[in-house]
């Protein structure tokens, strides 16, 4: 895989395409939406500030960096206060907030690799093959993670619907 240097316009384009999803991903790691936005903004500003920045797989790098920054921030904040789980970081035109919160809860409970795979596939629009490449994981493993994740989400959402 070749190393590429991103221009300012390319970084801005990445932000437009993946910024909101990365913020939702940061929320799934335990941050509130405002903090998630800050984390994502800082990450992209850092990318803009570094002239020699050249990630081999920018999207995968963004996901990993978002996760690390979110977990670090969450660890620091947890000492101060517990955050409420009632803030929506997804929107759905026809669903109630309860449904949104149920999905968010289900996503939060997924193992990290499965959650990352779901975000990359569903909301970052990557194929399983692309995910395998950027995460340097065998395609079969990625496919399994995705399948297990969907199964768990379906179970979780189904249980909530039954309630």
């Amino acid at each position: 895989m070749q190393s590429i240097r991103l221009t300012t316009d390319e970084v801005k384009l990445l932000y437009q395409k993946h910024g909101a999803t990365l913020a939702a991903y940061a929320c799934s790691c335990g941050l509130d939406h405002a903090a998630a936005e800050d984390v994502v903004q800082q990450l992209f500003l850092k990318m803009l500030g570094e002239k020699t920045f050249a990630p081999q797989a920018p999207v995968a790098y963004l996901y990993r960096s978002t996760r690390n920054a979110s977990l670090n921030l969450q660890r620091d904040r947890r000492r101060e206060t517990d955050l409420p789980d009632t803030e929506p970081w997804f929107i759905h035109p026809n669903s109630s907030q309860v449904e949104v919160l149920t999905l968010q809860k289900a996503l939060q409970e997924l193992p990290e690799e499965q959650k990352e795979t779901v975000f990359l596939k569903i909301w970052s629009g990557m194929t399983l093959q692309e995910i395998a490449e950027v995460t340097e994981t065998p395609l079969n493993t990625v496919a399994s993670r995705y399948r297990y994740a969907l199964e768990k989400l379906r179970d979780h959402l189904g249980q909530q619907n039954k309630k």
């Binding site: 932000y15 903004q41 500003l45 803009l48 500030g49 929107i91 759905h92 779901v118 909301w123 989400l153």
Partner: protein
């Protein structure tokens, strides 16, 4: 893909992440500006320091110049006879040589008459 998976996938796609603010590149510009200001301030400080040193160095020769003329005046008063003249005197007139050397030694050697003379101080001790 499993039809259940396809259905779940379709359902998940209906949810969209909440929009976020556009990327603000302002803080970076602010940082750049403050960095530039810091560099300018450093350069001004450096230039000021250099000027101060230059001024100080320029003042030193003046002090030396104030002192030097006195020394030069003293030196000018001394009319040392040339080595050739002294040799001639030594050969022709020993007494005159002695008197010339005595005169010169009075001018060249420090006097013991001054109040702050080191010889006087030592003599007192």
């Amino acid at each position: 893909m499993d039809p259940f998976d396809q259905e779940t996938e379709r359902y998940l796609r209906e949810f969209q992440p909440r929009a976020i603010q556009p990327l603000e590149v302002g803080p970076k510009d602010k940082n750049t500006l403050s960095r530039r200001l810091a560099v300018v301030a450093l350069l001004v400080l450096l230039a000021g320091t250099l000027l101060w040193f230059a001024h100080r160095e320029a003042a030193r020769p003046k002090e030396a110049a104030n002192i030097r003329p006195e020394k030069e005046n003293v030196a000018r008063g001394r009319r040392f006879p040339s080595a050739l003249a002294l040799t001639r005197l030594a050969l022709e007139d020993n007494e005159k040589l002695d008197s010339v050397l005595a005169d010169q030694s009075r001018e060249v050697l420090p006097t013991v008459q001054g109040k702050q003379s080191m010889l006087r101080v030592l003599a007192n001790d």
